[in-house]
C-alpha cells in the first residue's frame, strides 16, 4: 500500500510554527525596519552634506580681473571682491579656512597681452591665470568648476578653429531607462542576495539546530516519517518563509530609497521591466533561495546549538558576500558555462536581467546549477537526519 507523502504535513507545521511566533515574525521584519530607519537617517545626512544653499553667493577675490569677465562671473552667482597683489597670501588663508571661496589672479593688462600673444612666434611663455579654491568646501569646488568652464570657453573663442557641441545642451543621449537599468543591475543582485541570505539565516538555525537542541527533532525521528520527507519539508517551508522575509526587506529598501537618494531615486524605476523579465527573475530568486536554505540547513544540522550555528555559518556568509560583490564590479558577461556555478550564476543572471541584456539560456543554466546543488544538498540533509552521530552527539 502506497502511503501519502508527509512532506506537506511537515511543511505546514513548520510554517504554522513561525507564523504564529511573535519573536520569529519580529526577526523577519527587523531587517526591513532597520533598513528604513537607517536610510532615512543616512538620507538626511547626505542631503545636508551635498545640498548647495541657493541663497548663498560664493565670494571670489580677484586680482586684475579684466572687465569683460565681470558679467560672466556675476552670472554664475559669484560675488566679486577686487583685491591687490599684496593681499594674496591673506586671501589664500581665508579660502583654506572656508571664509571665501575663490581667488583669481590675472596678469596686469591681461586682454592686451593675449591679443598680442602669438603661439607660433612668441619667445615668452603664454600668460598664466592662477585660480585657488578649497575642494573640501562644496561651494568653492562648484565655483571653481564654473570658472574653469568660462575661461576655457573664452580661450577657445580666441583661436576658434572648430567648436564642439556649440549651443547643444543635452548631448548625453542616455535615456532614463538605461540609467535605471545600469544602476539597478549594479546594486540589486548584491542586495537581493544579501536579503535572501539574511532571511534564510534567521530561520534555518532555529528550525534545525534549535529543534535538535531542544530534543523535538528526535520525537519526529521515532515516527514513520521518512528522513527525506523531513528534509524536503523543512527546506520547502524555510524557503517559502525566507522568500517572504527577503520580499519584505526588498520592499522596505525600494520604499526607503527616495529617502536615501533624494531625486536620484527617480532613476531607480522598476517600471522599465516587462513580465518576462520578472518571471525570469522569480525563477532565479526561487532557485537561489532553495539553495541557500539547503546550505544553511546542512550547516545548522552540524551545529549542536542555535548559538553554535552562528559560528558555523560565518564562512558561508563571507563567500556569499564575495559572490555578491563580484556581480557588482564585473562589467563583462561571462561565458555560458560560468552561469552553471551556483550562486555566482544567480548574481550574473540577476545582473543581466536588471540591465535588460541577458540570454534566457544563461538564466536557465544558472537556475539549473542552483537546483542541482540544492538537490544534492537535500540528499545530504536526509543522510544527516539519518546519522546518529549528527543527530545525537553529546
Amino acid at each position: 500500500m502506497k502511503k501519502k507523502s508527509n512532506i506537506l504535513t511537515v511543511t505546514k507545521k513548520e510554517i504554522a510554527r513561525f507564523v504564529g511566533d511573535k519573536r520569529m515574525i519580529m526577526m523577519i521584519l527587523l531587517p526591513a525596519v532597520m533598513i528604513y530607519v537607517m536610510y532615512s537617517f543616512m538620507g538626511s545626512a547626505f542631503t545636508n552634506l551635498f545640498s548647495v544653499d541657493d541663497e548663498y553667493s560664493p565670494i571670489a577675490y580677484t586680482v586684475n580681473l579684466p572687465r569683460p569677465f565681470i558679467p560672466m562671473l556675476e552670472a554664475t552667482g559669484l560675488e566679486i571682491i577686487e583685491a591687490s597683489d599684496r593681499d594674496v597670501i591673506q586671501i589664500k588663508e581665508y579660502i583654506s579656512k572656508k571664509q571665501g571661496e575663490l581667488l583669481l589672479v590675472f596678469p596686469e593688462n591681461f586682454i592686451e597681452i593675449i591679443n598680442d600673444y602669438n603661439v607660433q612666434t612668441s619667445m615668452v611663455p603664454a600668460p598664466n591665470v592662477e585660480i585657488y579654491f578649497n575642494s573640501s568646501d562644496i561651494n568653492s569646488a562648484g565655483a571653481f568648476n564654473n570658472i574653469i568652464l568660462i575661461l576655457d570657453n573664452y580661450e577657445a573663442s580666441l583661436v576658434n578653429k572648430f567648436d564642439i557641441n556649440r549651443g547643444i545642451l543635452n548631448a548625453d543621449l542616455v535615456t532614463a531607462d538605461d540609467l535605471s537599468a545600469s544602476i539597478m543591475s549594479m546594486m540589486m543582485p548584491m542586495l537581493l542576495l544579501m536579503f535572501l541570505y539574511s532571511g534564510c539565516a534567521s530561520l534555518a538555525p532555529e528550525s534545525i539546530a534549535g529543534e535538535k537542541e531542544r530534543g523535538t527533532l528526535a520525537t519526529l525521528l521515532v515516527t514513520p516519517l521518512k528522513r527525506s520527507e523531513l528534509a524536503i519539508g523543512k527546506i520547502l517551508s524555510l524557503g517559502l518563509l525566507s522568500l517572504l522575509s527577503g520580499f519584505v526587506t526588498a520592499l522596505a529598501t525600494i520604499l526607503s530609497l527616495p529617502k536615501l537618494m533624494g531625486d536620484a531615486a527617480e532613476f531607480m524605476d522598476t517600471g522599465i521591466y516587462n513580465a518576462t523579465d520578472y518571471l525570469l527573475l522569480a525563477c532565479v530568486i526561487l532557485s537561489t533561495v532553495l539553495l541557500l536554505v539547503t546550505l544553511i540547513s546542512i550547516m545548522s544540522a552540524f551545529a549542536k546549538t542555535v548559538k553554535e550555528t552562528t559560528a558555523v555559518v560565518t564562512p558561508l556568509m563571507i563567500v556569499i558576500m564575495l559572490i555578491g560583490l563580484s556581480g557588482m564590479f564585473s562589467s563583462t558577461v561571462p561565458d555560458s558555462l560560468y552561469f552553471l556555478i551556483p550562486l555566482y550564476g544567480s548574481v550574473q543572471s540577476m545582473s543581466g536581467i536588471f540591465s535588460m541584456s541577458y540570454s534566457t539560456i544563461n538564466i536557465a543554466l544558472s537556475c539549473a546549477g542552483n537546483l542541482l546543488l540544492a538537490f544534492i544538498g537535500a540528499f545530504v540533509l536526509t543522510k544527516m537526519f539519518n546519522s546518529e552521530k549528527v543527530m545525537f552527539s553529546k
Binding site: 502511503k3 501519502k4 508527509n6 504535513t9 507545521k13 504554522a16 510554527r17 504564529g20 511566533d21 529543534e211 531542544r214 530534543g215 523535538t216 528526535a218 520525537t219 519526529l220 525521528l221 521515532v222 515516527t223 514513520p224 516519517l225 521518512k226 546518529e388 545525537f392 553529546k394
Partner: protein
C-alpha cells in the same frame, strides 16, 4: 502467546569526547554501554528492564526504537528487523523517553493531529482516539494550552498520549514514572496494566523495584550493559524480595559486596 520481540547479542560502544571523559571521571576513550545483550518479550506481557544508573537501559531501548544503530546484534519486533526495516518498526511501536520533547510552540491538540498524520491515520479515527485518550489522561483540560506553559506532569501526559497516537501493539517506555508525583505515576501504571489487558506488549525500563514488582510479568536485570538475569518475576522472587535478589546478582557481577 508467542515471542513478539527478540533481541540477539546487541552491543553499542560510544566514543567519549574529552569533555565526557572528564564528566564521567574516566580515562577510557570509549564506553561499552550495551554488551552482547539478548532477551525476548512475549505478546501481551509487561517486560521490565531493571538496572542501576548508567547500566545501559536507555541505550538498549533507543536501539530497539531505531533512533540509534547497534554496532552488532539484531532485534526483530513483530517480524520487522531494526536493521533493515526501521520504518516498519517505527510504525509498530510507541516509544516514550524523557529525551523526546514536544515542541514548546504548539498545543497538545495540534501536536496530536500532527503526529496522527505522520502515522497516516485517517482524520475520523484519529479524532475519536484523541477524544478518548485526552479524556482518560485529563489532557482535554489543557488541550489548547501551548506546551511551553504546561507543568512537567502535564507535559508527560501529553507526551504519553502522543506516543501512542497510532495505537501501537508494542509500547516501549523509558522510566515512565520518572519525575511524576504519586497521583500521576498511578495514572500511568494503571494505564500500562490496562494496555496489557488489551493484549499489548509493553517494555519498560526502570530502577524502581516496587514498580517492577507491581506490574511486570518478566524481568531482565541489566548491569554494566550485560543482561545478568532474565526470568519471570514469580521465579525471581520465589524466596526473597526483588531488592535482595538484585543485590546478590549485583555483587556477583561486579565482584564486590555492598
Amino acid at each position: 502467546m508467542g515471542v513478539i520481540l527478540q533481541a540477539e547479542g546487541l552491543s553499542k560502544t560510544f566514543r567519549l569526547s574529552a569533555k565526557q571523559q572528564k564528566l564521567q571521571k574516566t580515562k577510557e576513550k570509549v564506553i561499552k554501554a550495551v554488551d552482547d545483550l539478548s532477551f525476548e518479550a512475549n505478546e501481551g506481557e509487561i517486560f521490565g528492564l531493571l538496572g542501576p544508573n548508567g547500566a545501559g537501559k536507555t541505550t538498549t531501548l533507543r536501539i530497539l526504537a531505531t533512533l540509534i544503530k547497534a554496532d552488532s546484534g539484531e532485534a526483530t519486533i513483530d517480524g520487522a528487523s531494526i536493521r533493515t526495516q526501521p520504518e516498519i518498526v517505527r510504525s509498530k511501536i510507541g516509544f516514550l523517553t524523557s529525551e523526546l520533547k514536544l515542541e514548546d510552540f504548539f498545543t497538545p491538540n495540534y501536536l496530536f493531529d500532527f503526529f496522527a498524520k505522520l502515522h497516516h491515520i485517517d482524520a475520523a479515527k484519529s479524532s475519536q482516539r484523541k477524544e478518548e485518550l485526552f479524556k482518560k489522561f485529563g489532557v482535554d483540560e489543557f488541550a489548547e494550552v501551548k506546551v511551553s506553559n504546561l507543568s512537567t506532569g502535564m507535559k508527560q501526559k501529553a507526551s504519553l498520549v502522543i506516543s501512542i497516537v497510532h495505537d501501537p501493539n508494542i509500547i516501549i517506555f523509558d522510566e515512565p514514572t520518572n519525575g511524576l508525583d504519586v497521583l500521576t505515576a498511578k495514572v500511568v501504571t494503571d494505564f500500562l496494566i490496562e494496555l496489557r489487558e488489551q493484549g499489548k506488549t509493553i517494555i519498560v525500563s526502570t530502577h524502581i523495584f516496587s514498580l517492577v514488582e507491581k506490574i511486570c510479568d518478566r524481568v531482565g536485570i541489566i548491569i554494566n550493559g550485560k543482561m545478568a538475569v532474565c526470568d519471570t518475576l514469580k521465579s525471581l522472587v520465589s524466596d526473597k524480595p526483588l531488592e535482595d535478589v538484585f543485590f546478590d546478582i549485583y555483587s556477583q557481577e561486579v565482584g564486590d559486596t555492598l
